[in-house]
């Protein structure tokens, strides 16, 4: 029985002998790989869409240029999505390697690293989308009580492209949330003790 590592060294892991269990493990790995590839692709797309977005308008014969650095929330969105894309490329490579090896063994230290990384990335991407969505809402609708004007009336094309970037980043953050649940499962099942079982109610 291993519970909180009591009596078991940190590198000690369970071995599953049943073919059914191996097949289930393989299915979990495939879902993980697909999600990591989705995050890699859409994270890059979100970062590029927002970072390359500019629009020039002439207002009272003065040229004004809208760019993503005008809003801190968009800078945060670009950095967060570039980071999560880079992180996912490394994790996807690890997934492929472990699938090629066909191994269902899992070490606790590696499981902790993946769990921690996924947690940080999940909360970071959710925070980035929330902050960017809030800025986008002000840009689209304005905040009349505070004299914050709608800028999407002026920079329509700029706002649309930012909207596409935020939509892409939203899919990235949802995928990261699902992945963080998968990595929590992969880690904490290593701490289970099931030699004896007993039925219990709620």
């Amino acid at each position: 029985m291993s519970y909180l590592g009591v009596g078991v060294s940190p590198g000690t892991v369970p071995v599953y002998h049943s073919t059914n269990l191996k097949a289930l493990d393989r299915r979990v790995r495939i879902v993980e790989l697909v999600l990591r590839c989705v995050i890699l692709g859409l994270g890059l797309l979100a970062a590029v869409l927002v970072a390359t977005d500019t629009q020039v308008k002439e207002i009272f014969s003065i040229q004004k240029k809208a760019k993503f650095t005008d809003m801190e929330a968009l800078v945060f969105l670009v950095i967060a999505n570039a980071l999560v894309a880079g992180y996912s490329s490394i994790q996807a490579l690890r997934c492929v390697l472990s699938m090629v090896r066909g191994s269902v063994l899992f070490s606790k230290p590696l499981a902790w690293v993946i769990f921690s990384g996924d947690q940080v990335m999940a909360y970071m991407t959710v925070a980035a989308v929330a902050a960017a969505a809030q800025s986008a809402a002000i840009a689209k609708l304005g905040q009349p009580e505070l004299q914050w004007i709608k800028i999407c009336n002026i920079y329509g094309k700029f706002c649309n492209q930012v909207g596409e970037g935020i939509a892409s980043a939203l899919v990235v953050s949802i995928s990261m949330v699902v992945l963080s649940c998968i990595s929590a499962f992969s880690l904490f099942r290593l701490y289970g003790g099931t030699n004896k079982t007993k039925s219990a109610g709620w």
Copy 2:
């Protein structure tokens, strides 16, 4: 061995006989109870601080009143913190009951309910803090490129109280993140199979 519930009914759970393991379980429960009480108290404080915050200023002989409903992000913050405080009061009660009973038994359906609830609350509170912090940053620093003025120069007392509310909500969201890890541990250890162990590298 139980992995993804194979061969074990959903209500079947492990029993830990060792006194050491029971003591560890008790310690985890105490941390959980403390965190749920912190969230209950600070979640209520954040909601009350922001929801009761108003300031009236006379600008060019016109009376202007700042209130939290002027910013959607603050409305979201109040709702999210009120919800998480209510949720935590129920969960704290459950913690106390299970500690009084002294039971370390845990059912899978209940573990899934707690895990799902904690995940939703953790991501919701993080998103609420991120959106409110973004609005507060614009209010404090302005966004000159977009002609969004600093309103904290006008409504200083209002901004300070909102700041205290956001700080309180930040502690709530960090506590919820830690709690969501604890409930993930409580759930997924039930899926562990540790009859045979073997050392593995990274």
